[in-house]
Point group: D2
Chain length 267, copies 4
């Protein structure tokens, strides 16, 4: 078999020089946040000026959601049999798919198709939203990004949208999902925009490729999975039967951020 | 089998309220960086004031090292057979072990044992470093964290150590590894402190649990693996024979950070 | 969340009694082959009388295909970084997808659709095969199950088909793929039926659910992956660059089966 | 980096010829069972004449143990989020480690060390067994391979040992574990030899490399995991909370093997 040389456009490694998408890594370090570097690695370009604070917040929003999600349970199950930390993480990541984490992807599809329909038909987003809500209700489908099993108002969504406005990232994605929420309300159904819906809207406004929706969730959730695995290893005996919901929180009591922390990151 | 209720100290989920280690997630969002939130998720406490910029830089330093590392190759190999993005990532993470990524853990062990030996014996770090270098040279072992296959001066190390001084995080970890480097030089061997060694020193100075060394590398590298997998899917045909080193960089030419970017993150 | 009791129809475990699909496991042991038990676990019923020898042969046919397939390379890559055996196997299995192993599934779809078309239209398999070959050639598509990169006559196919006749399993599946091969030849293209195509035909004739095509290949290949990983650990140094094709066979020279072995398994 | 050609001693692929450890694959097919081929792939040689029936029984014994083991739960959890079958299997395999499946390895170590101690000291196996039981009881450790959470007499063990005698495989491994069981009984503790202990004894008597103990269990269990994943996909809704023990068997009622099946495989 004759193999030709292949190409990569991500990282260039030369003696004493590492460049990510053309920028020296040691220059990126200290000058951009991890979130900005993630954006650069994936999109090939740095995010718009001022968007860093929003991107950090998007990643923080999804860092963990407790021990109940299947990714946490699968990772804990593997850890409980004696798996190494990376193997337990792999089991967790293998449990992030269409039905867990996948709402971001599905919601991006809906929002983009709504925006495209408005552009193509000349209709307003309101008119398109009303149509979409009709279509979903007629076929009795849930719309990804709206509704939550536990939260009636997802606290992460309000925060993300206010940061999206401050940082001037909010665009058609945010507008479309808000219009859909209003259309549901007009049709008699109060549904919160959940954190997946908010992230979907923002990934559209940041022009992140659709295919990376699931990856975004995974990158945000890996640290939470590390914490879950690490806690399983530290606190529990091997081979216990892990009941998926019968757990209680016994960590630090509710507390306020220390004063200095509340000043925002500057970009 | 009788299952008792179990406990978790990471995240508390209540209707319309999500708290990570006691802090409201919507308050963390916009006020801390992703790196600070990672530190909080893992350690249970926010990092020291001012350390955020360093932590971000540590994560950025390891985000990608091109297509040659085995984690990138395993992830690309899986992707090339038609694996979904999360499955390809899992294959990559399963390839981050003792011999790839593990240098951080091994170096932390050496540094900590050096520091402990100095404390216990009352010897200076210099004296202990000389002993350790003797021991490694006598048994003809490489010391993790020192030396690099490609770089004679790892550009990421200099940057990390200068940020560690600016942010006042640098402590005994940094001192110990620098002293070891000098002891090798005194013994006739010039070895750069590589990025794994620098991170190991800083994780000690940040009092990160030893067990999380490998996790730190994984969290930093996942976005790079996403970029590698995503590029494989976009640019290459399925089932190609992936030669591990015969690739060329064809991405953006060397470039400077845009002016506004060079102001540092403020914490 | 209210969880109702759930059901499973596979295995029943009671004190001193384990039953697989209703049969005592200790009665299955010694009376059926592993292949028969696999069939029972998956289908819920034992295979037809006499089919054991064929099923064993199907599993043996795919046990290994050398170090070149991506599943072997991904597993070796993980092992080379220090992964445990099960983690390296997982990386290998994550590399068995549509483009590696998937030909069985794709070929089953083609064969079944050909058989169905003949039934629905009242046409002969020959007529349908000619149509299908026309359609594939018109759209310039390869037909899964036919053709091989290395073999002009796949030795495994001839053997499987002769066993399928001996054991009276051969039916419409085998007939359909042979007819397709003849139709290609009539259209000027000599293509061998490859081992994936032969297995696809036999899985149809054994009425194995379509969804288990990929699983069948994985079950057969896991022992080969174990051998590959185990050899990597025993013979190679960590973190070597694993060139995908530049390897040589240095195992036992060609040899004949010992006399006693050539009598066939009796069922 | 200069890569030298590497070697493999497992499979040789040439045009129209595939050889496993020197034997033509198409000659193995139909003449050896899958279990014999597994043995050949792993050990490099065919098993002793007559051992096939035992090896098949060993693999059948561990094919499934219901929905409760962590490997089944992790695989079902991944499947429940929408994972593909191979990804769900990988999650299951990542949950087979020291504390699940690992008893075979641990028991092999104990048996081998007992046999070696007898050889080195000239003591009888009985004397050594009494010492080992003393040591374990003094340090309050469980001995892998003895005792079971559910079974007071593991039905699989009796069957394996009777087949091991019929096939003349039973040797020092079987003798050692039986002697240990008797020593425990003499010390006032009735413990059944569980299936892992029985397999450990037989792997020693078959001279299987110690490192492959976990692999043996994985190869046997993969079909069971396929059945579990496949059932999860067919019967359950996505993202259900999977209670680890609250399930009921609703498969075929207890039944006898059909008459023809009870004749043993002939080798």
């Amino acid at each position: 078999m004759n193999e030709t040389t292949w190409k990569t456009a991500i990282t260039q490694v030369r003696p004493n020089e590492v460049r990510l998408r053309g920028y020296r890594i040691d220059e990126l370090m200290g000058n951009v946040t991890f979130g900005q570097a993630i954006f650069l690695a994936l999109k090939g370009e740095l995010p718009p000026a001022g968007a860093a604070r929003l991107i950090e917040a998007m990643l923080v929003s999804s860092i963990d959601h407790g021990a109940t999600p299947p990714s946490a349970l699968a990772a804990r199950t593997a850890a409980s049999t004696g798996a190494s930390l990376n193997a337990a993480l792999a089991a967790g990541i293998l449990s992030i798919n269409r039905f867990h984490g996948g709402a971001i992807y599905d919601c991006m599809s809906i929002l983009q198709s709504g925006i495209d329909r408005a552009t193509e038909t000349g209709k307003s987003l309101e008119a398109v939203a009303a149509e979409l809500v009709d279509e979903y209700q007629a076929s009795n489908r849930r719309m990804a990004g709206l509704g939550h099993r536990i939260h009636t108002a997802d606290p992460r969504t309000a925060r993300l949208f206010s940061l999206a406005e401050e940082t001037q990232v909010a665009g058609q994605g945010v507008e479309m999902i808000r219009t859909l929420q209003q259309a549901f309300e007009a049709a008699g159904k109060r549904l919160p925009i959940n954190v997946d819906g908010a992230i979907a809207a923002l990934l559209i406004d940041l022009q992140m490729p659709h295919d990376l929706a699931n990856a975004f969730f995974i990158m945000a959730r890996v640290p939470g999975l590390v914490a879950q695995v690490s806690e399983e290893m530290a606190r529990e005996r091997p081979m216990r039967a892990i009941h998926p919901t019968d757990h209680e929180y016994d960590g630090p009591a509710p507390r306020e951020l220390p004063p200095g922390t509340t000043a925002p990151p500057n970009r």
